[in-house]
């Protein structure tokens, strides 16, 4: 499913402030696996996730997701890849505060060219999976942190992506909401989704349904 080969990422490349966020990182993730990238802040987890999501391009190396060469995708194709194949859950949710939960979840389907009926059914199914149906008509700004995160999960699932990427998903949640989130991840794994979670939350360290934990430090993988 995911093949990362010798990937490096340098910010401010070619300047005196050049910073190596990733150094020759290589690993593979099989279809349906759940992998946790564990490491402290600044270890390169988020950079790696943004490369897997096609949000950024590496400075060198190869990233292949589901047979698609992500590291070289032109912008237009990177957008298509994100719109179809990837669901992303961000640390700060990145929701549209003035819209309702339902409307936020609908956003990825705006350009999908599907009928309103199919759209409604997908949105309902997605909100159900993320246990946020009861807040469907509520504006996002009125939600708690945990509810916002569940709304973000529903949005990430609505286009039925094969790959789900979560960047520090529990960093802004209390323990109870973090456990609820982990429960949802377990359900998604049961549905055959490939999941990569970047986190420094110790709650993810000994989860039974996690296939692999990849440790990261200073832009490198440490097992």
């Amino acid at each position: 499913m995911i093949e990362v080969q010798g990937v490096s990422k340098t910010y401010n490349d070619g300047t005196s402030q050049a910073f190596d966020a990733l150094k020759e990182v290589s690993f593979c993730v099989k279809k349906g696996e759940m992998v946790t990238l564990l490491g402290v802040s600044g270890s390169g987890k988020s950079t790696l996730l943004s490369l897997l999501a096609g949000l950024d391009r590496p400075s060198q190396g190869k990233i292949v997701v589901d047979g698609e060469l992500i590291s070289k995708l032109p912008d237009l194709h990177a957008s298509r890849y994100r719109a179809k194949g990837v669901g992303i859950v961000f640390q700060h949710f990145n929701l549209l505060e003035s819209l309702s939960v339902e409307e936020n979840v609908m956003v990825p389907l705006i350009h999908a060219g599907i009928s309103m009926e199919t759209l409604q059914s997908r949105v309902s199914k997605s909100m159900e999976l993320a246990s946020i149906t009861h807040k469907a008509t509520q504006k996002v700004k009125a939600l708690s942190g945990g509810e916002k995160q569940r709304c973000a999960i529903a949005r990430a699932l609505v286009h039925d992506p094969a790959l789900i990427l979560c960047d520090e998903p529990t960093a802004n949640l209390d323990r109870a909401n973090s456990l609820k989130f982990i429960e949802i991840l377990q359900t998604l794994k049961g549905l055959g989704k490939t999941i990569v979670v970047a986190t420094h939350d110790p709650l993810f360290e000994n989860l039974s349904f996690v296939d692999r934990v990849i440790g990261m430090e200073s832009g490198e993988i440490v097992q």
Partner: protein, 322 residues
Amino acid sequence: MNEVLLSHEVMVYLLSESLLYGLLLLGFLVSLRLLKLWDFEAFTTQQFRLETQSYLLATILLFMIVIKLGLLPYFVYTLDTLSDIVPGAMCGAGVIKANSYGNPLLLVKSITLVLLGIWVTLHQLDLEKKNYPYFRIKTWFFVAIFVLLSVEYGLDIAYFTQIDIHKPVTCCSVIFGQVGGANALPFHLNTLQLLLLFYLSFVLLWVLIVSHKVVWSLFGVLLFAFFAYYSVVYFFGTYIYELPTHKCPFCMLQSHYYYVGYMVWGLLLGSVFVNVNRVVMQVFFHQSVETLQRLSWLLPLLFVLLCSLYVGVYYLKNGVFL
């Protein structure tokens, strides 16, 4: 200092062209570097940098092309304003003939715009694919266009610096009229024959486009443009001016005629531009671009309708033809 160079319009025009040329030169140098080092199969830092630079290059070129597109009508407008200081000139027609660089400059400008349009289409096709299949060819194409753009810039400078405002030029009535007994219609045609050929060439172009005779439609559009030019100058123009003796391609660009010339010539140049572009894409790259396909018949149709409208409106208002 030459009074022409002190004209606001000329200053703005030459400054804009100089800035654009500076950007183009930068783009040209980056292009050469890209062509030398590009290897899409490589996953090295250098190749990733080159790919980022190729985005920058494309952005510069697209920006330049948009400005250049606006600068062509501005160039014509500048010529028109110079008719106030060039003795004998009544409009841009006299000014463009003020020295031997004028007409070649206008021709080179039109050709570069058509070529830049082909570059834009090629670039769009390239972006639609995942592995930059047209990268090398579009970059080489830009390098070739750059040579022509350099010639154009040289002609720009030569033309504006060598307009002698003490030397009278001939006005449009002499250049295009029959004052000196000249009949500039091609093949000794009379106006009716010319008009007939104009409409026939339009029908032919349409038939060729609809029947997908790609290569022949290039011939069709050039034939159409040829007869269209003469028809506008020697027939339709007289209805725009509402004066049977006034034959000029430039005066219709003036405010007295609501700047309709920009639309007339814009549609004609657009027709050539789109059809040449469409043929190049289909013949050399086997790609059919839907927008070009639609515009290839729409622009000539709008051109013919606009020209014919002037004749029709004149007849309805006055009950006679000129």
